[in-house]
């Protein structure tokens, strides 16, 4: 046999195979952290879609003129009785959506399940889950019992499983981790127990701890400045400025929650917006949204990053609609306050201090005979992600005007809740805030005590969200006029948008089902001649 000929023949056979293999190998696989700096149109690679937290898309196929023609492209049935609260993540045409102890990988073109992973030991509070994170070929899931599970992106097989807190002490997690370079930032909850506010960074390759940041360093440690307060958990997903290399995160309420006398002073850094170096976990600056909070009003809401003019000068800003009913604009290079205005009913302050923090009125602290205070415990807003529309300069948030009655007496003690409070009444309204004045430009009735949906805006001037009466809707961003709606069950998450095969999708949860909407085929592709 002629060896040369054989080799040549083999080469002929092998060549196309090799070329084919090469093509597949060159197709994108997993998530390159560098891509996170400017996600392409076919990705929604992190909880907020990108590092800014704006939840604003430049996709322009769906417009105010054609949005009423949206049609269901596919649905995904989780089969779960509880609703989906997570924002889905989209990487390489695959969507990852979570519920407590569960994660699904779904084909983003047709809603087909590719794999599902269920954590085998349900422990800790099961109240909801915000979402997953992806790094290279790994998908991450936090569990109610504060484990971080690393899963193979191909099949959902467990790569490793590390605990990041002790759920037996009262921690739990609903957190969608935030990937920054080679750091996976993992948050947790826990305000039924007097626990230090804890944020962790772990190595996404190994799960090894990189740093711990305490918003309330454990009493007795040198950094402890909280005046005896514990708490200040960073349970929501933060944002990141790559130029300044700063991670921004909101901190939760103090514990004991309603017992203010047990923890005199401002209780730093609870109910605060913090800037943290993601490489070291060191605090760069802090701004307190609610000094000496006694009403469970965490400042864990999304710190939205915006580069735009403020009073005529270009600024790197951070905006937050906080649970205490106030809208804040900060200079995110140094934490200096630019604007503080109420965006929801609030009757708990004596004014605004020089540094921009509201000054709490001691007469509105929980008391033995009760205090009627706005907002109630659920707050002027909450976990529901807002959106910043760069075209109109409107910050759009699912708000509530609400009142509660608040009680505390020494017999309630100084552990955990340490008091009692009762919601009286609340009304949900989607509000569009002018970021330079804090004025409400328009509001949209959410038809109930409050919605569960986040907000998405697009460059064509559409605001997508959901109300408390099972409708997903599209409003005209400039004036809030209703353009489209569909009744799909409780809209409990933040809508996302992406483009695949030249088609713009909008995906949102109704109950335990994901709905993907597109324009009808004939509008997307030119009709055949």
């Amino acid at each position: 046999m002629n060896l040369r000929r054989l080799t040549f023949r083999s080469f002929l056979v092998v060549l196309p195979l090799a070329a084919g293999t090469l093509l597949v190998a060159q197709a994108p696989r997993g998530l390159d952290p560098a891509m996170m700096l400017k996600p392409p149109a076919d990705m929604w690679p992190t909880y907020h879609g990108d590092y800014t937290g704006q939840r604003h898309s430049r996709l322009a196929q769906i417009t105010p003129d054609n949005v009423h023609q949206l049609t269901v492209a596919w649905t995904f049935q989780s089969g779960s009785a509880a609703g989906i609260k997570a924002t889905p993540i989209l990487v390489d045409g695959v969507m990852y959506v979570t519920m407590p102890d569960n994660i699904w990988a779904i084909d983003a073109r047709n809603g087909r399940q590719l794999w599902k992973y269920t954590y085998p030991t349900p422990q800790g509070f099961h109240i909801g889950h915000r979402g997953a994170a992806v790094y290279k070929d790994t998908v991450y899931l936090t569990t109610p019992d504060t484990h971080l599970i690393a899963l193979d992106i191909r099949d959902g097989k467990v790569k490793w499983d590390v605990p990041f807190a002790d759920w037996r002490k009262g921690f739990w997690s609903t957190n969608a981790p935030l990937l920054i370079k080679n750091h996976l930032i993992v948050g947790m909850s826990g305000d039924f127990d007097n626990l230090p506010g804890t944020l962790k960074s772990v190595d996404p390759e190994t799960g090894k701890l990189q740093w711990v940041f305490y918003s309330t360093p454990p009493p007795g440690t040198p950094d402890s400045i909280s005046g005896g307060a514990t708490g200040g958990q960073m349970w929501n997903t933060g944002t990141y400025d790559p130029e300044l290399n700063l991670l921004y995160v909101g901190t939760g309420n103090p514990t004991p929650v309603l017992n203010g006398p047990a923890r005199p002073g401002d209780n730093k850094w609870v109910c605060s917006i913090l800037a943290i170096d993601p490489d070291t976990g060191k605090l760069a600056w802090g701004f307190q949204a609610s000094p000496h909070d006694t009403h469970d009003w965490d400042a864990s809401e999304v710190p939205v990053l915006v580069d735009a003019p403020f009073n005529g000068a270009p600024r790197k800003m951070l905006m937050q609609a906080s649970r205490n009913g106030y809208f804040f604009v900060l200079d995110r290079t140094n934490g200096k306050n630019l604007l503080t205005k109420p965006f929801a009913a609030a009757n708990w302050t004596k004014g605004i201090s020089e540094n921009g923090s509201p000054i709490p009125d001691p007469a509105q602290e929980p008391a033995r005979d009760g205090r009627l205070v706005a907002p109630d415990e659920g707050g002027g807003t909450n976990y529901r992600s807002p959106s910043f529309d760069r075209r109109t300069g409107l910050f759009i948030v699912s708000a509530r005007d609400s009142w509660g009655i608040w009680f505390f007496k020494p017999e309630h003690g100084a552990y955990g809740w340490a008091g009692a409070d009762y919601g009286v009444y609340g009304k949900g309204l989607l509000r569009a805030i002018d970021y330079q004045t804090g004025k409400i430009k328009w509001e949209h009735d959410l038809m109930g005590g409050g919605g569960g949906a986040g907000v998405l805006t697009t460059d064509t001037g559409i605001t997508f969200s959901g109300d408390a009466a099972n409708s997903v809707f599209a409003l005209r961003t400039s004036d809030g006029a209703t353009l489209w709606h569909a009744s799909i069950g409780n809209v409990g998450n933040g809508p996302i948008t992406y483009e695949l095969d030249g088609k713009q999708y909008m995906v949102v949860a109704g109950g335990g089902v994901l709905y993907a909407w597109t324009l009808p085929e004939r509008l997307v592709t030119a009709p055949p001649r």
Binding site: A81, I127, P342, D369, G370, N382, A420, Y425, N490
Partner: protein
């Protein structure tokens, strides 16, 4: 200013308020009828609702039941995971879920015959989702609830409570003035009419809650007068009825025989008379003193 504008907006739109949907219902069930206003937020405080108020003795267990400690222990873990956020890890209540040790249903339950169907079905109208918990796990949860009730019944003092005496800081005379004057309560209510004997029916926190928002947290007893709507349809026809549902796009009303029909809100002129709106409009006006004074006045109406 902006606040009063919001309230004006509320009154203009005449929207009735549907139960807060923070705990999402599992299926697309219609919102409950005749449930205006109450707003359980994403809360975690301590509360007692819809059952004997905290100052009252909890209802006694009708059929005493004993459970093995291992089962109770197992149930404690499961309860914390699936029920604890709303009902408290100790079953003694949270903002969104009542204190189960004071629940009439738990008192009357025998080994889960009432609790288990409730967990399966949920109470969607009150924000409790249906839960697919396997039967053996549910049996353990039931054991833990009953064990907790037995323990709670033996507790004295130190409970997270609001006692009627805590609330007795108001001035009844000033309350009467507010009732007849600035508060405008007398426009709809009368101490010798609908409110006669109110203080005999409700005390303490429950009375305060009903005063601030009837049909809200202080449940039990007579429901407030339902909202009624007059709908002028594009055809020119006019329909009236009790509002059973309202959203931005549709309104449903029931006639006097209980038949419900829905109408598109498009092109229709809808006027809703909802008595709770007066209570909502008062919330930004009350001072804490006003609130305690009116309560003191109501407490004289025995």
């Amino acid at each position: 200013m902006r606040l009063s504008l919001s309230i004006a907006f509320l009154l203009l739109t005449s929207a009735i308020v549907l139960p807060y949907a923070q705990q999402p219902p599992a299926q697309q069930q219609p919102p409950p009828a005749q449930q205006p206003a109450p707003t359980p937020p994403a809360g975690r405080g301590r509360a007692t609702q819809g059952n004997p108020t905290a100052a009252q003795k909890p209802p006694a267990t009708v059929t005493p039941q004993a459970y093995p400690p291992e089962l109770v222990q197992q149930g404690q873990v499961l309860f914390a995971s699936f029920c604890g956020f709303c009902h408290g890890r100790d079953t003694m209540g949270g903002e969104t879920g009542p204190d189960l040790t004071r629940s009439l249903l738990v008192a009357e339950d025998v080994r889960g015959d009432k609790i288990i169907p409730l967990v399966h079905a949920g109470r969607v109208d009150k924000g409790m989702p249906p839960q697919n918990i396997p039967d053996p796990d549910l049996a353990a949860i039931v054991a833990f609830i009953h064990d907790s009730k037995t323990k709670a019944d033996s507790l004295e003092g130190n409970r997270r409570t609001v006692d009627p005496s805590d609330l007795a800081t108001g001035n009844a005379q000033a309350g009467q003035q507010f009732f007849n004057g600035a508060g405008g309560c007398a426009k709809c209510h009368s101490p010798t009419g609908d409110l006669a004997g109110i203080a005999s029916r409700y005390q303490g926190l429950q009375l305060l809650q009903r005063m601030l928002m009837p049909g809200g947290r202080g449940r039990g007893g007579v429901a407030p007068r339902p909202a009624t709507a007059t709908i002028k349809l594009p055809s020119g026809q006019t329909v009236t009825g009790r509002v059973t549902y309202r959203d931005e796009f549709t309104i449903s009303v029931a006639d006097s025989d209980g038949y419900t029909r829905s109408y598109s809100a498009r092109g229709a002129t809808i006027t809703v008379d909802n008595p709770i709106e007066g209570h909502a409009a008062l919330l930004p006006k009350y001072t804490n003193d006003d609130m305690h004074n009116v309560l003191a006045y109501l407490q004289t109406l025995k």
